[in-house]
C-alpha cells in the first residue's frame, strides 16, 4: 500500500480566495506523476468521499502535465476567518488527501 503523500513532493492546501480551498499535489518525477495520473484514482468521487462533500462542491480537478501536478478546488463550508471557520488560511486541510491509498505501486 502506498499513500499519495509518500509519492508527492508537495502536497498542500490553501485558500483560493476566501470561499474556496485548493489542494495542490506536485511530483518531482515524471514516472510518479504518470503513475498517479494513470491510476484513475484521482477523481471527484474519491475526493468527495475523503472530505465528506458532494461532487458538486468540487469546482475543479485538473492535471497540469508541464508542472507534474494536479489541483483540486472545492467550496468552503464557511468563508475564511468568520464565525465557525477553523482554518483561516486553509493551510492544514490537506491531511486526508495525504493518506489516500494509491495502491501497490512500483518504484521507478
Amino acid at each position: 500500500m502506498t499513500q499519495l503523500g509518500q509519492l508527492a513532493k508537495v502536497l498542500r492546501s490553501k485558500n483560493s480566495g476566501p470561499f474556496e480551498l485548493t489542494l495542490d499535489v506536485l511530483f518531482d518525477s515524471e514516472d510518479r506523476y504518470r503513475m498517479v495520473k494513470d491510476s484513475g484514482l484521482i477523481t471527484k468521487k474519491t475526493v468527495s468521499e475523503l472530505y465528506g462533500i458532494t461532487e458538486e462542491q468540487i469546482h475543479h480537478l485538473v492535471f497540469f502535465d508541464q508542472a507534474l501536478g494536479f489541483k483540486i478546488t472545492f467550496a468552503r463550508d464557511i468563508s475564511s476567518g468568520t464565525v465557525g471557520d477553523r482554518d483561516v488560511y486553509g493551510a492544514q486541510q490537506h491531511a486526508p488527501l495525504m493518506v489516500l491509498d494509491v495502491g501497490p505501486m512500483k518504484e521507478e
Partner: protein, 449 residues
C-alpha cells in the same frame, strides 16, 4: 521594440522581510521597476473590516526603506500593490505615512501617485440594481442591499490600466489600493509595450517573491525579464534556484485552477506554455496567452462586522472526560442556554473546538481519537461584546464543574493555562462582498500627491 524589461520583486509580501544582499544583487541589473505586493485576503476579513494591516509598521518601513533609498535616487519606478494589506483608504494612508517618513529621513524627493481602489456603497448599490454584480463562485450568495449597506469598506481589484497611466505620468512611487496581485508587475511590461500575456504571467510569478525558486520562500527576491517573445525568471540569492518545474508549478499557488487565471478584463491561458532552462538557474517561459474578455469585470471585496467574540483556551487530561468529551460539551452548551433562556437563540452561539480530536478539520476529520490530552478552545459569539463575555463566563464555569456520568475528578474539568481564562476578542467580520462587478477600465482614480 527589442529592449529587455527587468522587474525586481524584493519579496512576496511587503513587511515580510528579505535579505538586503539579494536586493542589491538585483540592483546590479538595469531595472525598469521595483514592484512589491503588499496585499492578501489570506488573513481573513478582519484586516479589511477593521482597517488594520497584516504586517507591523516597523516591518513595512524596514522593507520600504531599502526599496526607496535604492530605487528613488536611481529613478527606478517603485510600485506597491494592495497597499497596507487590504488596499482600502486607511491602508493606503498608513502606507503613505511610512513613505513620507522614509523620504524625509533619507532627504529624498519623489513624485508619488496614489491609485484609490475604494468603492462607495452607493456605487455598488447602483451596480447591483442594474444587474452588474455576480457572485464569484456557486457557494457565494447573491449580493443583497442589506449586505451592501452593512459593509463599511468595499474595495475592488484594479488591473494594470491605471498603473500604466500613472507610469505614463512619470510617477516615482505608485501606491496602489487593492490590486489584482499580478497587475502592478504586469503594468511595467505593458507600459514598455510588451505582450500582456507574458507580462501578467510573469507578474503572477513575481508577486510571491522567491516562492517559485527552490527552496521557495516569500521572504527573498526574484528578478523577471521580459523580452519580445518570452520572459525569464531567476533567483537573486545563490542559495535558491529556479527550475522549469518550480516555475511551472508556481502557477498552482493560491489559484483555483492550475493554468487558467481570471483577472480584471481578461483570462490568462497558460495551458500551452513552455518552460525551459537556457542557462542554469534561468527559466525561460513562452506561450502565455492573454485573452481579453467581452465585458470588463472587477472583483469587489468587502467585509462587515457580524458578531463579537469571547473565548477560552483550556487543556483536558482526564481520560474519562476525554472519552465522552463531545457528549459533555453538548450538556454544557445546553446548561448555558437554559441559564440564559431569556436571551433569544439568534443573539449568540456557542462553539467548541477540540484540538486533538477534530480541531482543524471539524466534521471532515476521518481519523479516530488517539491522544491522551485534548486542547479545547470554546467561544461565544454574540451581538455585543458584553453578551459574548457574559455567556462565555457561564459556559466556562459550567464546563469547569460539570458533573458528568462516571466522573472521578470532582474538583474541576479544565486546566486553564492563563488567569484570567476568558479572552475578549472584539469584533468578528465576514467577507460579505466577494463579487464581480461589471465596470469600465477607468474605474480607478489616480491622485498625485
Amino acid at each position: 521594440m527589442n529592449t529587455d524589461i527587468r522587474i525586481l520583486s524584493p519579496c512576496g509580501m511587503l513587511g515580510y522581510g528579505f535579505p538586503e544582499q539579494s536586493f542589491l544583487r538585483g540592483m546590479e541589473y538595469e531595472l525598469h521597476g521595483i514592484v512589491v505586493d503588499a496585499g492578501s485576503t489570506d488573513a481573513g476579513p478582519h484586516k479589511l473590516g477593521a482597517g488594520v494591516s497584516i504586517v507591523s509598521k516597523r516591518a513595512a518601513k524596514k522593507d520600504l526603506d531599502i526599496i526607496i533609498s535604492n530605487g528613488v535616487p536611481r529613478g527606478i519606478p517603485i510600485i506597491i500593490g494592495s497597499a497596507g494589506g487590504s488596499g482600502a483608504e486607511k491602508h493606503v494612508n498608513w502606507t503613505l505615512e511610512i513613505i513620507r517618513e522614509i523620504l524625509e529621513e533619507r532627504g529624498l524627493e519623489a513624485k508619488i501617485s496614489v491609485i484609490w481602489a475604494d468603492f462607495t456603497q452607493e456605487e455598488v448599490l447602483k451596480a447591483s440594481r442594474e444587474g452588474r454584480i455576480h457572485p464569484l463562485s456557486p457557494n457565494i450568495p447573491q449580493l443583497d442591499e442589506e449586505a451592501i449597506r452593512e459593509t463599511s469598506s468595499i474595495v475592488a481589484q484594479m488591473g494594470h490600466e491605471p498603473i500604466v497611466e500613472a507610469l505614463r505620468q512619470g510617477s516615482d512611487i505608485i501606491v496602489c489600493g487593492r490590486a489584482y496581485d499580478p497587475s502592478p508587475f504586469a503594468a511595467i511590461g505593458i507600459y514598455h509595450g510588451k505582450d500582456p500575456g507574458l507580462s501578467y504571467h510573469l507578474g503572477k510569478i513575481l508577486e510571491c517573491g522567491a516562492l517559485c525558486a527552490e527552496p521557495g520562500t516569500t521572504k527573498d527576491g526574484i528578478l523577471g525579464t521580459i523580452t519580445d517573445d518570452a520572459f525569464l525568471v531567476q533567483s537573486l540569492n545563490p542559495e535558491r534556484r529556479c527550475s522549469p518545474i518550480s516555475v511551472a508549478a508556481h502557477t498552482f499557488y493560491e489559484k483555483e485552477h492550475p493554468y487558467i487565471l481570471h483577472g480584471p478584463g481578461f483570462t490568462l491561458d497558460l495551458e500551452h506554455c513552455r518552460f525551459e532552462e537556457p542557462e542554469e538557474g534561468i527559466v525561460r517561459v513562452t506561450g502565455s496567452r492573454y485573452l481579453p474578455a467581452d465585458k470588463y469585470f472587477i472583483k469587489l471585496e468587502g467585509a462587515r462586522r457580524v458578531a463579537y467574540r469571547t473565548f477560552v483556551v483550556a487543556g483536558i487530561r482526564d481520560p474519562i472526560l476525554i472519552a465522552k468529551l463531545e457528549e459533555v460539551e453538548a450538556c454544557v452548551k445546553e446548561g448555558a442556554q437554559q441559564y440564559y433562556r431569556d436571551i433569544p437563540d439568534s443573539d449568540y452561539s456557542i462553539h467548541f473546538y477540540n484540538y486533538g480530536i477534530n480541531g482543524v478539520l471539524g466534521h471532515k476529520e476521518p481519523e479516530k481519537l488517539r491522544g491522551h490530552e485534548i486542547g479545547v478552545m470554546f467561544e461565544v459569539v454574540a451581538k455585543t461584546q458584553e453578551l459574548a463575555s457574559s455567556i462565555c463566563a457561564t459556559v466556562r464555569s459550567t464546563f469547569l464543574h460539570y458533573g458528568y456520568e462516571g466522573r472521578k475528578s470532582t474538583a474541576g474539568n479544565l486546566a486553564f493555562p492563563f488567569a484570567p481564562s476568558d479572552v475578549e476578542f472584539g469584533p468578528v467580520y465576514e467577507f460579505s462582498v466577494y463579487h464581480l462587478m461589471e465596470s469600465d477600465r477607468g474605474a480607478f482614480r489616480i491622485e498625485h500627491i
